[in-house]
Amino acid sequence: MDQLEQLEARSVHILREAYREFKSLCMLWSIGKDSTVLLWLARKAFFGHVPFPLVHIDTSFKMPEMIIYRDRLARKWHLDMILGQNKDALEAKQTFPDGNSDRIACCRKLKSEALKHTLMGDWPRMRMDHSTGQYRIDESTEAFTGVIVGARADEEGSRSKERYFSPRNVESDWDVDDQPPELWNHYKTDFAPGTHVRIHPLLDWTELNVWEYIERESIPLISLYFNKGDGTRYRSLGCFPCTTPVQSDASTVAEIVDELRSGKFARIAERSGRAQDKDDGGGLETLRREGYM
């Protein structure tokens, strides 16, 4: 077994463990490459099926192409899509693009808070109706107790401390100093009422591993990652006001793999195009402690 096969096997094992142990389980799908690989791994783990809903937090500032791509794959792969949004903050224009908030506070409102309440089920959720392809208010308000997330340890400092199964308390807080032990394929899957667990099947994957896997499996990816002639491409996707592309001529998956192997980006952080990281003192620790993904 090569490295990618080992990584795949571990991720599949973790996904199956999550599905076995959590009655109310969902997966976050940001549309980006990592969570799309995660979605692909779920199809591997469950032999073509995705037996839990996918949750997408719509900040309303995502690049339009991301939304089209999301709904297209959702229909093609029969995904149980759920959308969440901070409607109040958007209606009150309490956002960074509206000029009424700094970046960190904007992320906190549009992502962290929207996510928290979408998972808890106390804010309205939208669910795709596959007969029409449209979203409708979700009748279920059940809280999710297991949330699968595509975080990788090599992205930035705080994520390197994560567990595969990482408990959060009622307030979605992460107690970094007191984390459960994980050993021999045994994870924390028993949890007290009121808490939930974040599950990180991609923890051991690097950016290069993700691209190599996309290449090996021919995973359909959004085209924003590729250079379309202007010498730039996105290396990490987010809201358009806070995300900038990198200089790169890579226009195919193979070229991106070669680019990463060449070490071109070895000295530049993957999320260097994500402005909120810099505003949070170089790491995402403040946001992550509060529930940011």
């Binding site: 077994m1 469950f46 073509g48 099926h49 390197s160 045994h186 998956v253």
Partner: protein, 614 residues
């Protein structure tokens, strides 16, 4: 907008399969300099992102702190203020030869569970010792943990030798003391390396400071660790994680899924599931977006379909009929490391997890508690405290399929869950037999203490016209069991029987208690139910309940707990028991009146009902 193609491309996997990834843990006492060693290693091997070192120097300068290489790893803010590594930080690093994950395990005793997490992931270990302080209690404990966690390649790094003027004598003193200690644990050290992480001596390059040292640098040592081969030559052990039946989009496959721990399996192999002993043949190895596979080997997460429909549950162990079988039993002698907040005590139920099995376990006896730092033993201890290593006897409430740790390592180790937390881990030394089981002891004690009234059983039967019985409706989930059970109660009651339908959901305050739950222990429920049934059947009642997803062991336990009274099993639908006798077998979907009549007739035949009461 998508680069879709249904099959793998030709170019797939170019180059990727050539690269090997090795996982290393770096362990040592607090302040002995682990993080500095890794920081230095990353910096000297040129593995840092551009500007990271400068950023950090700048940040240190601003806050008037001396710069330290350790800060590179201690990425979180609260660590930099405390100056110690709190969790297992993973850092990725590559050389021309291969990729590495380095787990920086915290040295402080408070964080031993984090150290266990880091070390359990590793294929090789670096044990760090401070040359000035020598072998500390915690260095010994770490040596013990590394040995128990099964890491076979260990190198000892003696750090801060600059503070000892690079003295060969100081280095040799530590080497001889620690090597002797580790040898007693069966840990063979591949090297002892004298270093000064702060000055970069013997980290990535050799130094004039230690002309007497001829061995490898830390980097050279890491590069020469051998990646352990996948254990494909051992007998097959595949813990069954789940059984999938996704019926959407006309998928009628019933897939047994799990990760192959050891050995291999192939299409056509005769599979045997333990501990139930059920057999079938592997029809196909299932996959998604892959060409059809004919075999699966150790390390792969796979799934198979079988040629026959057999009823098995998640938690069983798939083995091959042509190979050595695991041991099956309820009692085992084990070495256990405890990291729970509360001590492990006799009499409190815990959950044991081995492979994919989860089962209630009790601490039956503490044989001795080992002081891991001194390798001396303490006897007669009544509990296992946090950070103790104990040799003890554990007893599960139902049989498990296991191997001894020295036979098949991955199936000879387990973790123990207490109050939702993984609180202990251990390795199995031996199967114990011929002890009276704790359940038997419970029943013996209970019966001994039972103060009988003056009305004897015969009098009661004569008055009621029937015997007391515990009537249990079993069968797969979602069928007519409930309806039948309630109708039986109604029917018997109208015939003047003393009968009661027990909806156990109400009793156990868990509405799902009647369904095979995914994570809640039903073993405790079974014991409570058995004790309750003993009382009610003794009162002469025809106690009726329904249980879904129970297996032979559940029924055996109920039978034992209900003694001296008896069970009466009505199974509806597929009979999933391999040996426990069913008193009445009913097809699912049968006419209710007919079904009740069959049950009544059998109760008459068995002389449970003394009058003919249809």
């Amino acid at each position: 907008m998508e680069n879709t193609s249904p099959q793998k491309t030709e170019t797939a996997a170019r180059g990727a399969e050539g690269r090997e990834q090795l996982s290393i843990v770096i362990v040592g006492h607090v302040d002995h300099g682990k993080s500095t060693i890794i920081g230095r290693l990353l910096a000297d091997a040129g593995a840092l992102p551009e500007g990271k070192l400068e950023d950090l120097r700048e940040r240190c300068r601003k806050s008037a702190k001396p710069f330290e290489y350790a800060f590179l790893l201690d990425a979180l803010k609260n660590e930099q203020t405390q100056g110690i590594t709190i969790d297992t930080a993973r850092c990725f690093f590559k050389t021309a030869r291969r990729d590495y994950i380095i787990n920086d395990a915290p040295g402080h005793i408070e964080f031993l569970k984090n150290m266990v997490t880091g070390a359990a992931r590793a294929e090789a270990a670096l044990l760090v010792i401070d040359a000035r302080e020598g072998v500390q209690q915690n260095s010994r404990r770490h040596g013990y943990m590394v040995s128990m966690l099964g890491i076979r390649q260990v190198s000892v790094v003696v750090n801060k030798l600059d503070l000892m003027d690079y003295s060969e004598q100081a280095f040799e003193a530590i080497r001889s003391e620690y090597a002797e200690f580790l040898a007693r644990l069966g840990v063979e050290t591949v090297s002892f390396i004298p270093v000064s992480a702060r000055n970069g001596v013997n980290i990535a390059s050799r130094s004039d400071e230690t002309p007497w040292y001829r061995g490898p640098t830390v980097l050279e040592q890491i590069e020469s660790f051998v990646k352990p081969a996948a254990p494909t030559d051992l007998p097959l052990r595949m813990p069954v994680q789940d059984i999938y039946r996704f019926t959407e989009h006309d998928d009628d496959r019933r897939i047994v899924a799990g990760m192959v721990q050891t050995g291999s399996l192939a299409k056509g192999d005769e599979a045997i599931f333990q501990p139930s002993g059920k057999c079938s043949t592997i029809a196909r190895i299932e996959g998604f977006n892959s060409s059809e596979q004919t075999q699966a080997i150790a390390g792969q997460a796979t799934g198979v379909t079988l040629t026959t429909q057999i009823y098995i549950k998640p938690g069983e162990l798939m083995c091959r009929a042509d190979q050595r079988q695991p041991r099956i039993g309820t009692q085992l002698r084990a070495n256990l490391f405890w990291m729970g907040k509360s001590p492990m005590v006799v009499g409190r139920p815990y959950r044991l997890r081995i492979g994919a099995a989860r089962v209630q376990v009790n601490l039956a006896a503490i044989l001795n508690v080992l002081d891991a730092s001194e390798l001396s033993t303490v006897q007669g201890k009544g509990q296992v405290d946090r950070h103790d290593v104990a040799e003890c006897v554990l007893e599960t409430v139902r049989p498990i399929a296991f191997d001894l740790h020295n036979e098949i390592e991955t199936n000879g180790r387990f973790v123990i869950v207490d109050n939702y937390e993984i609180s202990g881990c251990g390795v199995i030394l031996e199967q114990v037999e011929a002890r009276t089981s704790m359940l038997h002891e419970h029943v013996i004690r209970r019966e001994f203490a039972w103060d009988k009234g003056n009305v004897d059983r015969g009098e009661r039967q004569a008055r009621f016209n029937h015997k007391g019985r515990f009537i249990v409706f079993t069968g797969p989930t979602g069928n007519a069991r409930h309806e039948l059970a309630k109708r039986l109660e109604q029917h018997l009651f109208r015939k003047h029987c003393n009968t009661y339908y027990l909806g156990i959901g109400n009793v156990f305050e868990d509405l799902d208690a009647d369904e095979p739950t995914r994570s809640v222990s039903r073993d405790e429920h079974v014991q409570q139910l058995g004790d309750l049934a003993r009382i009610m059947t003794d009162a002469g009642l025809l106690l009726i309940t329904t249980l879904a997803g129970v297996d032979d062991y559940d029924l055996e336990r109920l039978k034992l707990l209900n003694e001296p009274n008896q069970l009466f099993i009505v199974n509806v639908g597929e009979n999933i028991f391999s040996h426990f006798p069913v008193d009445v077998q009913l097809p699912d979907g049968a006419d209710t009146r007919d079904a009740i009549n069959v049950v009544i007739r059998e109760l008459n035949t068995r002389e449970v009902l003394l009058d003919y009461c249809i």
